[in-house]
């Protein structure tokens, strides 16, 4: 059961028109590809994706599950959205409620275990090892965890794990925590136990299912020490992407390939004057300018004289001649006009771009985000830290 209903509010305009799990990552993937690839490599072929926020992007991507070999006769991938069941009709109120509303799916399965995953994490994990651990512990629930540094602890559910491998305490996003281990939001349940335990009032997996069980010592822990990134905010997304340039193993491991829905695009092409280094570049890109420390998704065009640095550019965006893009995330199909400057420090005396509707200043630390299909006119400066909503037309004539 892949939980994919989060709104991803902290991802700003990147989730304005898409589910968080459908967010592009790593040059050609979407975040959910990692979860789905882990499932099929681990031999899980019966997969439900529980979606409710902007599901179209997710449905378009998954469709029948062909790229993951999940278009199967008797199993495969199903997208489950909240539906009307007679008198009961409501949105998924929480993670536990999403499971409860689909209890019939769990009941009709003949598996003896239910693996509950978050669709918004980037990692490579062989769930079979967790299953082996779960069976050896003999507890009805196992939680996967990983050690995180003290500064990170406020972002996660922190757990304490006893010497015998039992989870004995759980703090959800504590301001500070003595516990070293973060729950990865990956749970393995005995199916019969889960069916008995799910109730309409148990809305949240952590608060209403896991926490009450701790005192009865029925929750086992499973330590995972591989690559794992949680994509919660613009900053964590940006940092995880930049770290990928240093450590590419999650996408380059030939024994654990990440499958995705591929585009039908020609090889990336580079002009005589192109300068490219320290970057990940997908097929269909055309590079005539300079690209450094960046990730380009399929079909991106970088015109002659343009410079893209420390930025992430989604599919089919185009950067015009002599434009400059730095420390930015540029969404799909954005068009940046010739000579425009994105993510540079604003000069005094420039017209106030924030007077345009659809452009906001962020509290963030200097990552500029331009939403899907926005148009930045030639010569316009979008200062560092600005957020441009999807489809906004940024043209200085509108404010002069």
């Amino acid at each position: 059961m892949i939980l994919a209903g989060g709104t991803g509010r902290e991802l700003s305009v990147l989730t304005q028109h898409r589910a968080k799990t459908a967010l592009p990552f790593g040059g050609r993937y979407r975040i959910i590809d990692f979860c789905l690839s882990n499932c099929v490599h681990s031999g899980f072929h019966d997969i439900a994706v529980l979606a409710q926020y902007n599901p179209k992007s997710l449905i378009d991507h998954i469709k029948m599950g062909k790229p993951w070999d999940l278009d199967r006769k008797n199993s495969g991938v199903y997208i489950l959205q909240p539906t009307h069941h007679g008198e009961m009709a409501q949105w998924y109120l929480g993670t536990g409620d999403a499971l409860y509303q689909n209890i019939d799916v769990i009941r009709s399965s003949n598996a003896d275990l239910v693996l509950v995953l978050s669709g918004d994490q980037v990692y490579g994990m062989d769930y079979r090892r967790m299953v082996v651990h779960h069976r050896s512990m003999g507890k009805p629930v196992t939680i996967a965890y990983k050690e995180v540094s003290p500064s990170q602890r406020s972002r996660f559910g922190m757990i304490r794990c006893s010497r015998r491998g039992l989870v004995t305490a759980f703090q959800e996003k504590p301001s500070s925590s003595p516990f070293r281990f973060a729950s990865l939001g990956i749970y393995l349940f005995d199916r019969e136990f889960l069916i008995d335990y799910l109730r309409p009032e148990r809305v949240d997996i952590v608060f209403d299912i896991i926490m009450p069980m701790l005192t009865r010592r029925r929750v086992a822990g499973y330590e995972f020490d591989g690559y794992w990134e949680d994509i919660g905010s613009v900053m964590s997304y940006y940092r995880a992407s930049r770290r990928l340039l240093r450590n590419r193993s999650i996408i380059t491991d030939r024994a654990w390939p990440i499958y995705t829905r591929g585009a039908e695009l020609p090889p990336a092409s580079f002009s005589r004057d192109s300068v490219v280094m320290d970057s990940i570049i997908a097929d269909g890109c055309s590079v005539r300018g300079t690209v450094r420390g960046s990730i380009l998704f399929p079909g991106v065009r970088i015109a002659a004289g343009a410079t893209v640095e420390n930025s992430i550019i989604f599919s089919f965006a185009s950067i015009g001649n002599d434009a400059v893009v730095g420390t930015s995330i540029i969404d799909k199909e954005v068009r940046v006009g010739a000579g425009a400057q994105i993510g540079e420090r604003a000069h005094t005396g420039e017209p106030d771009i924030y007077r345009i509707e659809g452009i906001h200043r962020t509290r963030g630390r200097g990552i500029t985000v331009v939403g899907k299909a926005a148009r930045i006119a030639a010569g316009v400066g979008v200062p560092r830290g600005a957020v441009v909503e999807a489809r906004t037309v940024v043209d200085m004539r509108r404010i002069r």
Partner: protein, 423 residues
């Protein structure tokens, strides 16, 4: 009007492509990085809404058949129709190896007879072009002839390589000369034909008793043209018949020009091929790419200039690749220099080795007719050790077990072919 059924001739040996076709059929030769030559024809079938595609194979078809699979990339995985491989076979009705292009069709007469379609489109798996066969079909129907040939104008100097047709104003072909030394016309048959099915069956049954190795260009068309049964459809687009190694190399490098004659998209439809699960291309801090096409899965730590690099190639730090075509899964070790070379799949070029530097005027001693234009060709899975120098117009091919055979430098025009491999 029913849709025509396509028959793709994909059995040719392609000997003039030297080592590239030693272990694979010509239509399966990689082209433009991630494609194989037959992708262009199969994409045209998709473009033209053709529901039934028969592929006639003969020469080493394994990689071709694996590539085509059930035809999914071209939407040919159908309940009804779809893609079918017709390989020569022994059977109840006497059959044999295909002896010629028309003989290959003749040996499949029972297949043709079962088809509902009234028209047969005959294609070649060796061509690179974008064409909507529906336009050709409309021309064919309007012409009122039982057979049509698609044709392009070619430079007069190249007429001796093609079937040359002379067409009257209404399109009727009045002359058909196979590879003429001299000709009035420079309209070349593309080897792409539409026939009315019943007419084709009658013609093949009549002619096969007269000619042992029945060929469209040499036998069928001269016969039909003399009876004024054939019309010529002038195809206005770019068309490439990959015949020779030189042609292959030139056509590949033309893709790097500022205005390449071949586009990867035509009428909004991209070239369709088998999906590729490789990660995106990675260029490291030491990498440099200029004027090149580079595919997914490559890791570029060295320098790539004016080259075409297929998926999953690693070019290590300090290595330089120039004016070359590198197929899938190769490794160019650090400090190696590769220039004017075609390197087949899964080749390793050792550290500090140089390939392709030398006097271009010395033709290859083994295959002087195919390899005399200043490139070096390395065959599939060859491992070239560290620190050797391999000149130009060289042929190198060996399995890993045969490493010892090219431990030393090779002069221009020399060859090193493992004993187990006959050319």
């Amino acid at each position: 009007m029913s849709n025509p059924v396509a028959f793709i001739l994909a059995g040719g040996v392609g000997k003039r492509l030297s080592l590239l076709t030693r272990f694979r059929a010509k239509p399966a030769v990689p082209f433009a990085g991630r494609y194989r030559i037959i992708d262009f024809t199969l994409t045209n079938c998709f473009r033209s809404g053709i529901d039934d595609v028969f592929i006639l194979t003969q020469y080493i078809a394994r990689s071709l058949i694996r590539h085509i699979g059930i035809g999914k990339p071209w939407d040919l995985d159908r309940r009804k129709g779809g893609v079918h491989i017709l390989h020569p076979r022994l059977g109840f009705q006497a059959a044999d190896w295909y002896q010629g292009t028309a003989d290959a069709i003749f040996q499949n007469v029972p297949v043709l007879e079962e088809l509902d379609s009234e028209h047969i489109l005959i294609l070649s798996g060796d061509h690179v072009y974008h064409m909507d066969y529906r336009e050709f079909m409309q021309f064919h129907l309007a012409s009122g002839k039982p057979a049509s040939v698609a044709a392009v104008t070619v430079p007069r100097s190249m007429c001796s390589e093609f079937g040359i047709v002379t067409a009257e104003r209404d399109g009727t072909i009045s002359r058909f000369e196979e590879k003429p030394k001299q000709s009035e016309s420079n309209l070349a048959s593309m080897g792409i034909y539409i026939f009315e099915k019943e007419f084709l069956l009658r013609t093949l049954k009549k002619l096969h008793t007269r000619f042992e190795n029945l060929d469209f260009g040499r036998h069928v068309f001269p016969h039909l043209v003399s009876r004024r049964h054939v019309a010529a459809y002038r195809f206005p687009g770019y068309w490439l018949d990959i015949g020779t190694l030189k042609g292959y190399y030139r056509a590949s490098l033309d893709l790097l020009s500022t205005r390449p004659r071949l586009r990867f998209r035509h009428d909004g439809i991209p070239v369709l091929t088998v999906p590729d699960d490789s990660p995106p291309l990675v260029v490291t801090k030491t990498g440099r790419i200029a004027r090149s096409l580079v595919c997914n899965g490559c890791v570029i730590e060295g320098e790539v200039v004016s080259s075409i690099v297929s998926p999953n190639v690693t070019i290590k730090r300090g290595a330089v690749v120039e004016n070359s075509i590198i197929f899938h899964d190769c490794v160019i070790e650090s400090g190696a220099r590769v220039r004017n070379a075609i390197i087949d799949k899964m080749v390793t070029v050792g550290r500090n080795t140089s390939v392709g530097f030398g006097d271009q005027s010395v033709p290859n001693q083994l295959q002087p007719l195919y390899l005399d234009f200043g490139i070096t060709l390395i065959g599939i899975k060859t491992r070239i050790p560290a620190g050797v120098r391999i000149g130009t117009n060289c042929l190198v091919c060996g399995s890993p077990a045969d490493d010892s055979m090219h431990q030393h430098d090779m002069g221009d025009g020399e060859s090193a072919i493992a004993e187990s491999i006959t050319l």
